[in-house]
């Protein structure tokens, strides 16, 4: 650990209250890993996102969800039933101490409890409240139900992703996996909260943020919208590569080990590129006729595009493991990569050099596990996981007794009455 890594994170000293399910938990993680004191407020018995697998050793249990573990690092956890008068009163006390409240309830729910932004602001004018919901607080779809897959459909991700007919006849558009609709919403919500925090350093005042996951997804398809707005084009799906108005050369090639390589070639085939390509292929004795000087003529290259891509490059990649193609090509300046399964990342030397993988202690299990770390290295205020996800109500005593001054007896009464 370098000296910088022991410094506090950029959000050290900030208190965030997170009332979030699967839709917003990643946003809370980002703020927590960046140093904020994120207090996750779950309903008694735990948030339903604890019911999502995979589970530790495939034994389903709310304390064993790896999905919950991942998305709730660097948070403390308390339980509180906001639908009780005691719960609302305690929440009010907490809100008075908070810098940020992140909530993903259906629109109008907090207001129905008298806990909307207007009410909370009265006792804390510095408070920033961010509501992150499927469609925002207004509009005809406001109360529609959603899911990750639904958002990828309406957001346009699916219209851009899938297979050409020849590769998978009759296949539907394919939604990329991994829960990325939630990531998209959380990235934008986090950015909005950060902007509000910066503003508060100057103005001293908080504000309300109405963030929409649908809109975040709709914004995340690169040039698809511009293609339509400026040219009226609706793009077509292509296997393993960019959507396009008309067919473009493939970029995904099967390697010797049965995995794939992403080799960006189409649109780049100029004499300089072809010369370097010939050198790369030749270093494995696979250049074929590509060293022929005729390939320094753009017209000859254009006429032989299919030969270069579908014969020479495809055969070259088919002769080697994907990782070898990746590194050999990158060392020669080609922007190519191996299409890896996530587990292959554990063997990536570059990530190890950057100290990317983190040991996270689960002391109740007497074990530590390897977690993926941070997107960026800060040299003055590090981004890093501080702790594993909280157990259900793990910090009830810390928060309710030590901080808010409740007695142990009162805590017991709250538990007996399903307030916590």
């Amino acid at each position: 650990m370098t000296a910088a890594q022991t410094l506090p994170g950029p959000f050290a000293g900030l208190r965030v209250l997170e009332l979030a399910d699967e839709k917003g938990q990643f946003c809370g993680k980002l703020l927590g890993d960046l140093g904020a004191d994120v207090v996750k407020i779950e309903p008694p018995g735990g948030e339903r996102s604890r019911q999502v697998g995979p589970f530790l050793d495939d034994i389903p249990h709310p304390e064993r969800s790896l999905s919950f573990w991942y998305y709730n690092t660097s948070k403390r956890g308390i339980t509180l039933n906001l639908e009780t008068a005691d719960g609302r009163q305690l929440f009010g006390l907490l809100a008075a101490t908070a810098d940020v409240i992140l909530e993903t309830f259906r629109p109008g729910f907090l207001a129905s409890l008298g806990l909307d932004y207007e009410a909370l602001r009265e006792q804390n004018s510095r408070l920033i409240v961010c509501s992150l919901t499927p469609f925002g607080q207004t509009g005809p779809w406001r109360d529609y139900l959603s899911s990750d897959l639904l958002h990828m459909a309406a957001g346009g991700e699916m219209a851009s992703s899938g297979y050409e007919e020849a590769d998978a006849p009759n296949a539907p558009p394919i939604a990329p996996g991994g829960g990325n609709a939630w990531h998209m919403g959380c990235h934008y919500a986090a950015m909005a909260i950060m902007a509000a925090l910066v503003h508060r350093t100057v103005s001293g005042r908080g504000q309300y943020i109405d963030a929409s996951i649908h809109e975040a997804c709709v914004l995340t398809t690169e040039a698809a919208i511009a293609n339509y707005i400026y040219r009226g084009e609706v793009l077509r799906r292509q296997t393993g590569r960019h959507h396009a108005a008309g067919p473009t050369p493939r970029t995904q090639f099967r390697a010797k080990d049965g995995t794939y390589v992403c080799a960006l070639v189409g649109g780049r085939l100029n004499p300089k590129f072809v010369k370097e390509l010939a050198e790369l292929l030749d270093s494995y004795g696979m250049a074929g006729d590509l060293k022929d000087p005729k390939y320094q003529d753009p017209a000859v290259i254009a006429k032989n595009t299919s030969h270069i891509i579908d014969d020479l490059i495809a055969n070259f990649i088919a002769s080697l493991p994907a990782e070898e193609v990746y590194h050999a090509a990158q060392e020669r300046g080609f922007t190519w990569g191996a299409v890896r399964a996530p587990e292959a990342l554990l063997d990536d030397a570059h990530l190890h050099d950057r100290g990317f993988w983190k040991q996270v202690e689960h002391k109740e299990l007497g074990r530590s596990f390897v977690y993926p770390g941070e997107a960026a290295i800060y040299n003055g205020s590090p981004w890093r996981i501080s702790t594993r996800a909280p157990l259900i109500g793990e910090h009830n005593t810390d928060i309710f007794c030590d901080e808010l001054g409740l007695s142990r007896g009162e805590l017991s009464v709250l538990a007996e009455n399903r307030v916590i």
Partner: protein, 441 residues
Amino acid sequence: MSRSRALENIRVVDFSWVRAGPWATRWLGAFGAEVIKIEWPESERGRLPSTTTPQNVEVNLNTSGNFNDTNANKKSLSLNVRNAKGLEIAKRLIAISDIVIENFSSRVLRNWGLGYEELCKIKPDIVYVSMSGYGHTGRNHHYTTFGPVAQAVSGLTYLSGLPDKPPAGWGWSYMDDTGGMYGAMCALTGLYHRNMTGRGQHIDLSQMVSSVPLNGPALLDFTVNGRGSRRAGFPPGNRAHWPGTPLVNNYRGPTVAPHNAYRTHPGEYNDWCVIVCHSDDEWQRLVQVMGTPSWATTERFATVAGRLRHQEELDEQIEAWSRTLGKYELMECCQAAGVRALPVQSAEDRVEHDPQLHHRQMYLAMEHPALGLHKVQNAPFKLSETPASNHLPAPLIGQHTREIVEGLLGYSHEELRAGFEDGTFWPTRRARFPYMEDMLR
């Protein structure tokens, strides 16, 4: 607009190009920062080649539609930083700025004499965000990325597709969009920290590395349970589980059926609607929406286990019904009954047919000096006190050179003219745009 802005009085020196970096600074601009894009006509690939210039408009440095959307809310200074005079001007600008951001490969700024140590000498509390492909440290720092390569190498591409098929991947540079998000978040956290402590820093963001945490649950399934994603039935397309393969969560959410995209009337390219039932109750509501057909009331579809086991037949039967309805009609019937359904939407659908986006004013038109009036993508959030807004179209290349060089930095008009003659502000042998001639008068 009279409202205050979140980044009022913040100035950003933006060396970024192509997409990921410009997408980051677009948002800093939307929050009210003065973003000064330093660019050079020979090298901004975000401007050329352009595949988004309207059919009736000449393709040139100022007519890419996608560039206009990606670079709203910025000013442009055309400047040759590789010449000593240009570098000096860049340094004078940095000295009065808050943030420097760039997305070159790892050694470019240092080689220009603008590494972090140098930046600190110019502006001690500078927030420097570098957005390179692999980061500034680590053995592969010199490797390069575009979105698709970052997605491939990080495992993201692999998570999309059908079993026993090549990866379907992402149909666009997801990690250019998302890399931009991280660039903006890094800049904002750096700025917050500076405002609180008085100290700047270097934030070393990597596009490839920032993709990896997006595979969190899949990675934990491996590091904790020893189970990799390279396994039978994974990835399961749009389904939560591929029938006939071991029941393992696919990292998208709960394992349920139905969970797929279904063809809708009239069966054109993007006529699909997604339907998902998260519970038996939701399934029973769908059965009612379908008109309670006899197939749907059989025992084998009554439980989630049965629906997962008989998914092929389930999906076939649902699609036989869904083909009779338009995708928006299907969505409305389902949502009115409390069933999760949304249509696959193309870009045209989103811009023209999505009533929610229309209501939320997602696309508002803005005039661009070379492209005319076109819709620009709005922010996906509404801040009550400091709303993000598109207040400037993307700059013409070098459009604000005079304003910045004379107005902000205090150079004389003669010095501006000299700089155009000697290749500091524009390549000497390249034709100038008419607005450049105007600024030299």
